[in-house]
Amino acid sequence: MYRKRSPREFEKTMLPHIDAAYRLAMWLLGHSPDAEDAVQDSFVRAFRAFDGWKGVNAKGWLLKIVRNTCMTQLGKRSRNANVIHLDTVSGDHDGIGFSDACVDKMPLAEDVLIAADRQARLWAAVNSLPTDSIIVLILREFEDQSYKQISEIVGIPIGTVMSRLSRARQQLRARFLAQGKEGKNHEM
């Protein structure tokens, strides 16, 4: 089996995106060993399929594999939970904790705490979105993918990317603001 693309090329193009792959898996599967397994699994798959990479947008190509691996995992979870539709899984997974990610790095100044509180609320709001919305939103805002790239990663038409993204932002805005109103007794 002749390989067009060398392991060295894989190392140069794909391995720099471990963090991005992990971020996506964390948002989709929550703070769990599943997320790490999914990323590891995705890299093995990516390596084996590497000859099929067209040579553009390495991160997007990799994230597509990560996304598929995570969705399979979510499908298993929902079957285990005896839930039939994938959509209904959305939003109620373990979630990724804002505090896990950053709170211990933050100095304890008053205004920083306020900013951190705002960020924690935003984090929670993103986390409460349905999986479909989370995917398009984080590919766009955190991983800087274009509509066309998102459509390739998720496997949906560009028009659908646009409407999902728009819906995701509306939901986020509504939930973020809603949390802000009841946020007086919110604790970190």
């Binding site: 089996m1 002749y2 390989r3 392991p7 894989f10 190392e11 391995l15 471990i18 963090d19 792959a21 992990y22 971020r23 964390m26 790490e36 990323v39 590891q40 890299f43 093995v44 390596f47 084996r48 990724i96 990610a101 950053c102 790095k105 705002r118 960020q119 935003l122 984090w123 993103v126 939103l137 766009r140 805002e141 955190f142 274009s146 509509y147 646009m162 993204l165 728009s166 932002r169 986020l172 805005r173 973020f176």
Partner: protein, 266 residues
């Protein structure tokens, strides 16, 4: 343009995904509609807030696992290019073995990226459990040394110890912390000795470290600008003898080639 339509275009406008024509008609609407301008500003705020959320990065152990898995896959692709076709079962067994090795190895993985004994221990255990003991299989130091060129960013010292009873089996590159590190594999009787060779600065001090961890013996020292770290399942005494033989070779010129064939019994 009506507000309803304009609102749907605000996101794509922020994302730079509008066609020139649509953008122009949206701007026209915005110039005359304060409400949509307000919505746009709100959307932009939300986007900025999102982008300022801290980026998570993958834990160190995941970086290491993925790198080790990649090396195993790469070695398989190099050595057995048609193995996937011939022996799918063998390949699966191999993958399983690597998985088990990684699961075991991760228990020993260090929290920091420095070269503490635990990091070498993890690499040693992993090398024994998966099929990755050697990436280059050669007993000739003149083959092993150049193999590291381009694989690690230094030229490790590779010493021939066959006359001392420690034949060189080969070498491989391990990730210690995030540092690609040259690992040399020697044999002593039925035991494997992994020797990690990393460059050090003159000023850095590594006192001779010696110890036992999880049943493996290790010894580390510094010589000729390198840090040597040897680890094995063999006894502490034989490891010490190995390290003494190596240090002796590092300080005396190589014996003439003719003596290389002389077998040594002790």
């Amino acid at each position: 343009m009506k507000c309803e339509k304009a609102l749907g275009l605000l996101g794509p406008r922020l994302d730079g995904e509008l066609s020139v024509n649509r953008e122009r008609s949206l701007e026209e609407h915005l110039s005359s509609c304060a409400e949509c301008r307000h919505s746009l500003a709100e959307l932009a705020d939300l986007r900025d807030a999102l982008r300022m959320l801290p980026r998570i990065s993958a834990p160190e152990r995941l970086h290491q696992k993925i790198y080790a898995g990649f090396q195993a896959e790469a070695a398989r692709a190099r050595v057995h290019p048609i193995r996937h076709l011939l022996h799918p079962l063998v390949t699966h067994a191999g993958a399983l073995a690597i998985g088990v090795a990684l699961a075991l190895g991760i228990m020993f993985l260090p929290k920091t990226t420095d070269g503490r004994p635990e990091s070498f221990l993890a690499a040693h255990v992993a090398s024994l459990k998966n099929e990755q003991l050697t990436q280059i299989l050669a007993s000739d130091t003149h083959k092993v040394r150049p193999w590291f060129e381009g694989r690690v960013d230094y030229a490790p010292i590779v010493v021939d110890l066959v006359d001392d009873g420690y034949p060189l089996v080969g070498g491989r590159v391990d990730l210690i912390g995030r540092q690609k590190t040259a690992a040399l594999v020697y044999k002593w009787n039925a035991h494997v000795i992994n020797l990690f060779v990393t460059p050090t600065d003159e000023g850095e001090k590594f006192p001779v470290t010696e110890g036992t961890e999880k049943g493996f013996n290790y010894i580390g020292w510094r010589a000729r600008g390198f840090r040597f770290f040897a680890i094995t399942g063999a006894s502490g005494n034989s490891l010490r003898a190995f390290s003494q033989a190596l240090q002796a070779r590092l300080h005396i010129p190589k014996p003439p080639a003719s003596s290389a064939k002389r077998m040594k019994y002790q």
